[in-house]
């Protein structure tokens, strides 16, 4: 199959309805005045005109609560809890969330491979969709370089003039496109349209940070002590919303749950948050990261410093969810820009 194909908007929903045969389809759906990723029965439930969903699609490849093992106490035995994972299609994922998937991949595919993640992820077919206009003041996708497709998908949809241009990126992508006569080859004229659309985006999408990412990294290397952190820490209410909605937050806790018979049970992993006050506290009472200042700083450092050192990858996707959801109106772009300003002032001796 060609690397670029296209489908007219008229045929598009027909094709979406055909995806069922590749597994359950999870897609953006309207929920009150916002959107969520949910299973859809057919294309009528799909709403691609959305800014980022409440939760990122990580809930499908890294569920909020996931059983790792089942056990019984008498007779004492352990067994793999999950033998069966289902094929599914994750549909209509923005490029910021695709960056989130790529980040998670790096973490869970690092040795030792995480079996639960890999089993889910390997059964997922990802259909991305390109944003054509900036979503809101909270996003920082341009500075993070995620306003344009940079991989992490099986196919990518870009809407142009009554059609979707489709970029094919994998065998899985090919599988969901094959056998539909209405999916056509892209002409050179279509490719030219795509190029000019991307050029146009450069004008419309403006960088949110006042400096380049390399400067951001330098700033984080230098400013672990700063009034900016004190301010953020003072405002933080420690609710953990920011980490829950983050497409790259993956910290978890492991807990056992016994059945009522007190003999059989499951060992789960649950999403956890570095913003909770017991996150780094050990049984003896020692807290290795006390206070909201250090916990908020930690969250930012896990996006703009540590993963660069460890994986050579920024773990902020620029989706803006943390800022959108923050009850204390802590804004990521503002925090980063305040740090850059402070660093520039320090550098020139103000």
């Amino acid at each position: 199959m060609e690397r670029y194909v296209k489908i007219s908007k008229k045929d598009f929903y027909k094709w979406v309805d055909s995806l069922k045969k590749h597994g359950k389809v999870y897609a953006p759906k309207r929920k009150e005045n916002t959107h969520v990723f949910r299973p859809i029965k057919d294309s009528s439930e799909l709403d691609l005109n959305y800014i980022s969903t409440i939760l990122p699609p990580k809930k499908y490849y890294f569920p909020q609560k996931e059983s790792l093992l089942k056990f019984s106490i008498k007779p004492f035995e352990t067994a793999k809890a999950i033998q069966k994972f289902e094929e599914f299609v994750l549909f209509g994922v923005h490029t910021c969330d695709l960056a989130g998937i790529q980040c998670m991949d790096v973490v869970f595919r690092e040795d030792p491979l995480d079996p639960n993640y890999i089993n889910r992820k390997d059964r997922m077919t990802t259909v991305g969709i390109e944003c054509l206009k900036p979503c809101d003041k909270h996003a920082s996708c341009v500075s993070m370089g995620n306003h344009v497709p940079r991989g992490g998908y099986d196919i990518m949809l870009t809407e142009i003039k009554g059609s979707y241009i489709i970029h094919l990126n994998s065998q899985k992508g090919e599988d969901i496109l094959q056998g539909h006569s209405y999916i056509k080859k892209c002409t050179q004229a279509d490719r030219n349209l795509l190029d000019s659309l991307r050029k146009n985006k450069e004008r419309v999408f403006k960088e949110e940070f006042i400096g380049q990412l390399t400067e951001v990294y330098t700033v984080f290397s230098k400013l672990s002590e700063s009034g900016v952190w004190d301010d953020v820490g003072k405002r933080c209410v420690g609710c953990g919303n920011c980490t829950t909605v983050c497409p790259t937050c993956y910290c978890f806790d492991v807990k056992d749950e016994l059945d009522l018979n007190l003999n059989d049970g499951l060992r789960y992993r649950w999403w956890n948050s570095c913003q909770m006050d017991d996150f780094a506290r050990v049984a003896g009472g020692e807290d290795f990261r006390p206070g909201r200042v250090s916990r908020q700083r930690h969250r930012y450092y896990r996006k703009f410093k540590y993963p660069i050192d460890k994986f050579n990858r920024y773990f902020c996707t620029g989706c803006g969810r943390c800022s959108r959801t923050c009850m204390a109106k802590i804004n990521l772009t503002e925090t980063v820009n305040d740090l850059i300003k402070e660093h520039r002032n320090v550098s020139i001796g103000i």
Binding site: L68, L69, F71, S72, I73, F76, E77, T78, K80, E87, V107, E110, P112, L113, D114, P115, I118, N119, R123, T125, R150, G151, G152, D154, N169, S170, Q171, K172, D175, S224, Y250, C251, F252, D253, V254, K255, D256, L258, G265, R267, R269, N272, C274, F279, A280, R281, V282, A283, G284, E286, F288, R289, H298, Y301, R302, K305, Y306, P307, D309, K310
Partner: protein
């Protein structure tokens, strides 16, 4: 960075969260709140193949209660079993203390980097321990004693709050009687008894009194954070460089595999990159230890 994935790809990876079963062969009461558990894997093959380095740790499961990390307190030179010394601190450790000989538990590991044993060859080794902090050092001490010719002089400074809080009391005597090993015991002021023959004072103070020489030496220390803090001051005064000081860090750990994010300090995962670090490495961390 694009990736091409094949549908329904290969074999599912091994379940890294699945523990092995082990039976408790022996329980020794070290102190009022510390017990040492001797564990033997149920699987005979595993009993032979399970190898580890001093300083590594395992995840200890009590199903229905949970899982916690503990250092291996036994020496890999003693084959066929492993030992963990566990202080009653929280929910899981309470459940472990309630176990009896013959009970079956879950063990996975070993995890972590362990002590750089090979780099210690031909060096004087100075062990500085406090309380339950002797557990990881004990693994290395027996390893060193069992391979005595590989190492130079051994100095051990060990202290606890009171005489009753000293762990491995029988073994302390054996170490004392080993040629080339100099053991100094101390208890905090007020923790002594009339017939106490050891020192009285905090570990850093006694370490200063023992006054080991930094020449061709490595210090391995483990204990409560407050002790470590002052041991470092003392060692600095005695001209030990931060490369010569090795410690094993305590942190909230959950998975032991570098995934769950709990034990993260800077870009380091204590469970995977540690728990053993030189003080020179620790000085580079961007968070407090």
């Amino acid at each position: 960075m694009t990736e091409v994935l094949k549908p329904g790809s290969s074999e599912p990876p091994e379940n890294i969260y699945l523990p092995h079963l082990a039976a408790i062969k022996e329980i020794r009461e070290e102190t009022q709140d510390i017990k040492t558990f001797k564990l033997v894997f149920q699987d005979e093959e595993l009993r032979k193949s399970f190898t580890y380095k001093p300083g590594q740790f395992i995840e200890f499961s009590i199903f229905g209660v949970g899982e916690s990390p503990f250092c291996l307190a036994s020496s890999p030179t003693r084959e066929g079993y492993i030992e963990c010394s566990i202080k009653k601190m929280g929910k899981v450790t309470q459940a472990i203390h309630d176990l009896e000989e013959g009970d079956i538990v879950g063990i996975r590991g070993p995890y972590g980097n362990g002590f750089p044993v090979e780099e210690m060859k031909g060096k004087n080794l100075i062990f500085v321990g406090g309380g339950i902090g002797l557990a990881p050092l004990r693994s290395l001490i027996w390893n060193v004693i069992d391979r005595r010719d590989d190492f130079k002089d051994v100095i051990i400074v060990y202290g606890s709050r009171s005489i009753a809080d000293l762990v491995y009391k029988d073994e302390l005597k054996q170490w004392q009687n080993t040629p080339g090993v100099k053991l100094t015991l101390t208890v905090d002021p007020g923790g002594e008894a009339e017939d106490w023959k050891g020192e009285i004072g905090f570990v850093p103070t006694i370490l200063e009194k023992v006054n080991p020489s930094p020449g061709n030496s490595l210090v391995i220390t483990c204990g409560p954070p407050i002790m470590i803090k002052f041991v470092l001051v003392t060692l600095n005064k005695m001209n030990f460089s931060s490369q010569q000081i090795i410690t094993t860090l305590e942190r909230k750990m959950t998975c032991g595999l570098g995934k769950c994010g709990r034990c993260n300090i800077g870009s380091v995962y204590v469970c995977k990159d540690g728990p053993v670090f030189t003080y020179a490495q620790i000085e580079q961390f961007q968070e407090e230890i």
